[in-house]
Symmetry: C2
């Protein structure tokens, strides 16, 4: 078979295979599963055929409850039916899942496993959702990587058809669903050869049909319900063998060996970890690392989680095992342990070898908490103890119930020769897109493997993006963020102040900064002392490029991404530069060709400039001793405890370092309100300027501001006497009891997000959107308004209520920082 490689994420891998086997897909979108349904919808619109030569029929329902009902209906009518979901969406499907399993219908649910909302919502990955469905009677099949997602999805569909059994086919949300990997793509012709067509025919002949009616879904009374429930046993008894058979077929097709449980490690391991999902990949790296150091360790990778087969488990488990740690990516408060831990306990209680091993369980990776080889090594280290800790956690510091394992030194378990690159970008600045292109260029044009993972914060507008790219000669198993980088790029100079951008850059690594501070004097002035020290003490190769100005010059406006990609290829040295230039220019032709030669030429110029305009900076030796000037402003010293201890670290991308104790007293998920007052983001590009000559004092601008950054204020004589210079005011118009006061509309430039609602709604066009920089003096005015006038908010409210045509929502001025 000719191998066909493509760079894609886990969602596309699952969708690619599911599309092949699907006749009907009933869908409802939910993060992180939505792209699967979107891909299928797009392919159907393009007329792509499944292996039966038909276009998949796709229906979006009103919710996941409806989607699962439609799935049940389509299956009952004899259609091979698929859906895609996660998290609460999957929970809404539970009632129908019992029905689908009870009626032996061959559904496949592709699930990008995600946390469930409890104390808080998390859109990120863990196994809480799939574990909540383990009682439904669905078979459950897990993949650990993007490649395995493609392969396991085929197994799920093939066995669903053959054994007439529904499958929950899952992989980790975000870590696998959104990780881009260069993988081998299964060919529809090859898949078609593996299908049991007799079973399909039988399924269709057996479907509900008015031509040969039967009844289903009847009520059964105590007399027969139990017996009928037991009649299904044989299907579950036989299923692991059927799964193993189809895994063998997929293994033959791909050369990748799959079993219900795979084993990785020392054939005579004494300490074994049992794990499921993406962390298995990091665990494989860890096993390699430890075995290279003479440790007898191994890993059981769970693929077929339900039915849980003792036969296949013991087939791979070394007889030498003495201690087992079961890692669960979920939490069941009140249970003796997490589900897979209890499974393994039950397994050994019944099928005990001569001597039972010690079994402990631990939680990891909840809500996409990064799971690294260092953490997994701690799990193996724990098993060295005479009495290993049970019910431990890794990846966090639990200073309350003290369940977290002690971490050893950070280890680097990735294979020799992996190149790791990290990029700090601004949401929508094109960094992520450029990085995806870079992966594709390397993946599709060379024999190297490539991996990309993109982490975002929750601030959709003007948030940050951190791209994690790896390249190497071997398949990349590092299913965790880059903590030991060869190359770091920062696409926004302000981030040097906000974030610890250089953390994890290796000694002698490359740091590329997009900045307008291109000369030494500017760098001396603006680069924070902490960054200077890091560069000097770690022999960092420091480069700057003024991509912002270059983009303007060559006509690309604010689109710096092509320039930065080119600079990356020059400095990171993943492939020869001339090849990279060639591939980038080919990509330009491909991407922009139909927009005309001029656009192509501009982007080609960006490629050339990106290589040429990089400036190497020799860090002065004195940087090693650079010292911060302590900030003495009130907003730095007067921050409430919660802001300083919890919010500030989170906003500085340091939330991972918060211990469990940071959440004592707010275990129910509560957060104080008004925290954004302490987080001056300054991300409005255009913000409103008040024109007092037009204003009619209706206050509607203040009403519609979703962030309360535009507020009416009223000054008495004394206040007016010492207002800042630019603080222009008007005599208040109404009501009578406020006569004599001065009125002003005050904007907070650093809080405003620039949505323009205020300018839009103003009936007299008294607000005009102007660039943020030109409005910065307003910060002083805001500070005066908030600090001097805030305690007289009553009079503002009187004015608001009496003047506005809307009711004024209740608000108080909080003692917010005026922006320093």
């Amino acid at each position: 078979m000719a191998k066909h490689w493509k760079t894609m994420d886990g969602n596309m891998a699952a969708a690619h295979v599911s599309y092949a086997f699907t006749e009907v897909a009933a869908i409802y979108p939910i993060t992180p599963s939505s792209p699967m349904a979107e891909y299928c919808d797009e392919w159907a619109a393009q007329g792509r055929k499944n292996i039966f030569g038909r276009i998949v029929e796709i229906s979006e329902l009103q919710s996941e409850a409806g989607a699962s009902g439609a799935v049940h209906g389509a299956l009952s009518a004899g259609s091979l039916t698929t859906t895609f979901t996660a998290s609460q969406g999957l929970l809404l499907m539970i009632p129908n899942m019992y029905k689908i399993a009870g009626e032996r219908l061959p559904a496949v649910f592709d699930v990008s496993a995600r946390a469930l909302a409890g104390h808080a919502l998390s859109i990120f990955g863990d196994h809480s959702d799939v574990m909540a469905c383990r009682a439904t009677g669905f078979a459950m099949l897990a993949a650990s990587s993007v490649q395995e997602t493609m392969d396991m999805t085929a197994v799920a569909h093939l066995v669903a058809i053959d054994a007439r059994m529904p499958f929950l086919n899952y992989f980790d949300g975000f870590r696998t669903s959104h990780e881009i990997q260069k993988i081998e793509v299964l060919d529809y012709d090859d898949l078609a050869k593996l299908v049991n067509y007799d079973a399909i025919e039988e399924f269709k002949a057996d479907a509900m049909n008015p031509e040969h009616p039967y009844q289903k879904g009847t009520a059964q009374n105590p007399d027969i319900f139990f017996q009928a429930t037991e009649a299904i046993n044989r299907f579950y008894d036989d299923l692991p063998d059927t799964v193993a058979d189809y895994m063998e077929k997929i293994s033959k097709l791909t050369g990748r060996e799959y079993f219900p449980f795979n084993y990785y490690g020392d054939p005579e391991a004494e300490r074994v970890v049992v794990c499921m999902g993406s962390a298995c990949q990091a665990a494989e790296e860890t096993v390699d690392y430890l075995r290279a150091r003479g440790e007898k360790v191994g890993l059981v990778i769970v693929h077929l989680y339900r039915p849980f087969s003792p036969k296949y488990f013991f087939k791979v488990l070394p007889a030498t095992v003495k201690k087992i740690a079961v890692l669960d990516r979920c939490k069941e408060p009140g249970a003796l342990g997490e589900p897979m831990y209890q499974d393994v306990c039950a397994l050994f209680a019944e099928y005990a070898p001569a001597e039972r091993p010690v079994i402990v369980g631990g939680r990891y990776g909840l809500g996409s908490k990064d799971t690294t080889p260092t953490q997994i090594k701690a799990v193996y280290d724990n098993l060295k103890s005479y009495k290993p800790m049970n019910h431990f956690t890794i990846g966090i510091n639990d200073d309350v119930t003290r369940l977290s394992l002690p971490m050893g030194e950070e280890i680097n378990a990735a294979p020799e020769g992996t190149i790791r690159c990290k990029f700090w970008g601004l949401g929508s600045d094109g960094t992520v897109g450029a990085n995806k292109n870079a992966i594709k260029i390397i993946g599709d044009n060379t024999d190297m493997y490539a991996q990309g993972y993109f982490s975002y914060d929750s601030k959709k507008s003007g948030g940050i993006t951190v791209s994690h790219l790896r390249f190497g000669k071997n398949p990349i198993k590092s299913t965790y963020l880059i903590n030991n980088a060869d190359f770091i790029a920062c696409h926004k100079q302000e981030y040097l102040h906000q974030y610890d951008v250089l953390r994890g850059l290796k000694k002698g690594g490359v740091f590329l900064l997009n900045t307008q501070w291109t000369d030494m004097a500017a760098l001396e002035e603006h680069v924070p002392a902490k960054v200077k020290r890091f560069i000097a003490k770690n022999d960092i190769q420091f480069y700057v490029i003024n991509a912002t100005d270059i983009a303007q010059e060559i006509g690309l406006g604010n689109r710096t991404n092509m320039i930065m990609m080119s600079a990356f290829f020059k400095l990171a040295n993943v492939i020869p530069l001339e090849d990279a230039v060639k591939y980038m220019k080919e990509a330009n032709e491909h991407t922009y060709g139909r927009k005309g030669a001029k656009v192509v030429a501009m982007n080609d110029a960006a490629v050339d400039k990106g290589c040429d305009a990089v400036i190497k900076i020799e860090a002065p030796a004195a940087w090693a001793d650079a010292a911060e000037e302590a900030c003495t402003c009130s907003c730095c010293s007067d921050r409430p405890d919660f802001i300083r201890d919890v919010c500030d670290p989170i906003n500085a991308q340091e939330g991972d370092s918060l211990p469990v104790s940071a959440f004592l007293g707010i275990e129910d998920g509560r957060f104080p309100s008004g925290t954004s007052a302490y987080e001056k983001r300054g991300v409005g590009v255009l913000i409103p300027e008040w024109n007092k000559d037009k204003c009619i004092q209706c206050n509607q601008c203040s009403m519609v501001c979703p962030h309360a950054t535009i507020r009416p204020v009223l000054l008495d004589e004394e206040e007016a006497a010492h207002k800042p210079a630019g603080f222009e005011t008007l005599p208040v118009k109404a009501p009578k009891e406020l006569a004599g006061l001065q009125f002003r509309i005050q904007v907070s430039p650093l809080d405003c997000l620039g949505c323009g609602n205020c300018a839009d709604i103003c009936p007299v066009k008294a607000l005009e959107m102007k660039p943020l920089d030109s409005q910065m003096p307003q910060s002083e005015n805001w500070k005066f308004a908030v600090e001097e006038v805030s305690d007289k908010s009553d009079r503002v409210n009187i004015h608001n209520v009496k003047n506005s045509q809307f009711a004024m929502p209740y608000f108080e001025f909080s003692g917010a920082c005026a922006g320093c």
Copy 2:
């Protein structure tokens, strides 16, 4: 404390206590939980006050999904909130349950645990629904009896308030929810003294409130979600102690000792069963039975299922235990074992005493399958083996996967002196109501304990009811149907032919038959041979009463129930007859007083007649050898396999005897259609008579008949030539191609349910409702129509399609029995 006793079912017991602690109840009805909400709604309408002196605010939502959302909202606003549900209703609440638990909100969900719909729907009891919620973070508290339901519901509310933890408070659907028991009622004043009012104040102060706003339900990213999740550990760690504390308080109040796990049996038991829910009561009887025979056995009764506390488990488990059987009332296909079995395995894997006991698990009681001491004895017997069977079932005959334990002889484990009475009645004939009154009369007027359980079939109109009543000097723990009766009454003589009415009547027991066959000749003629033999061979005291005629005579119409109750009191000898008569007449006064003296007098007459009109029948010795005459009719000999092997036993109330193999090939829950053609019920009181002189041949009567028992037929000349005598016909009116045929509307009297739709819709009043008996000759006509004319259904369809103003649904005449 003055003890206050009342006769009530489990639903009322839960509702009584929950009402006390509830401020808001958001509800949606589902069997078998609906009465809880109904009671609360009624009490609220009557102005009953909770312990806070307020009327409970009750809202019915659009589904259980909405109810759980409203519960979440009400809790967030600081209201003590309760809901009532079961089965799929509970599944719809799962997403909100994660939220409620994550936010530490003190909800109580009262759940009458019920099976989940898989291959078939079951409205009956098992633990599948609550087990599906064990991952949500709710505390889970189980009760085993009606009395415990009252006591545990108090614990649930008190701890929910004290520990701010939501509780799933459950008891077995039907077996407990609908079992009537004489129990001690908890007094609101006593309950009020146990409440932690500081906790309530704190909860309310902490609720969401615009006066002191905070935010909740935020999104958390990978940086902090895991840590925040671990911050809750201490609440779960502490909960078992809090539960134990409040159980101690309830124990002090009631004299009934409760712990998270209760132990019953030999303090040095070697074989122990772990069980939860109503089967624990039957298991207690079994333990008594076995200990009386020298066996060292014991029982762990699970109350607090989550958090599952090793501390309290080992506190009660005898150190002498060698073998443990865990009984689960649910099934999780694909798991290594059911949930509680896996819990106990995990428990011993971690907290192993010096020598680990053998642990096995078994399933029982799915969908309210009756669980008897004989079955539980089989579980203890299984533990005697060197290697006991694991994953067994009891209560069924699994002849496929052979997991069912072998049953020993039927044992009678109820305490000496228990009187067991069983009544076969017709749905809506008043039998159940009379039995409920009988229990109340005995429960409320004597120091005897009383229990009532009522089993119905699924045929709402004209179905059968079997009432199971027990009376005794000790609390009644027999949580299973009566299989060893002192007294059996049959309120409908036809049942002697349809059902094995006498099964389980003890040697020398009393059999009372309501019948119009009051003389020996009639009895000789009508009583089936099987019944005769049973009576004669088992020294049955056989009594008859013609309650039907008596009721007519004294003006009670068809209401025979008071007469039958009186006869019961005379014969069953539960309390002295003169007391019973007095109590019954007092009850008449109470019930009918406001309807006037005449009605009271009629019912008093029924009491007197019931005692007097009972006739003792001396069974002739020859009855011992009575022999059946084999029926040779075609409908008895020509029944399809599925009808004979599956439907007939089910309809004869013998479905319990069907083995698992009866369901092979229909594991997905399918049943053939058309089975009702083989079940001639004859329950229509008035059925339609066709008047050919009015009929316009529109066929609408046939269209609207929901049971297809009224059909147009068309005869050709040959058929018309040998039609039965009463088979009147008309020349067909239209269409042309059918000219020359004869038309008739034919009714099937024994299939018709007498709904009257046909008569209502007939535009020319050609159908008139007449008593079934007068229409029985139609059966011959139906037989002729079905057997002789059915293969010409095409022409009927042509006629239908062309004549009817509606489209005719597709149907075929099946070769149905004409009723023999």
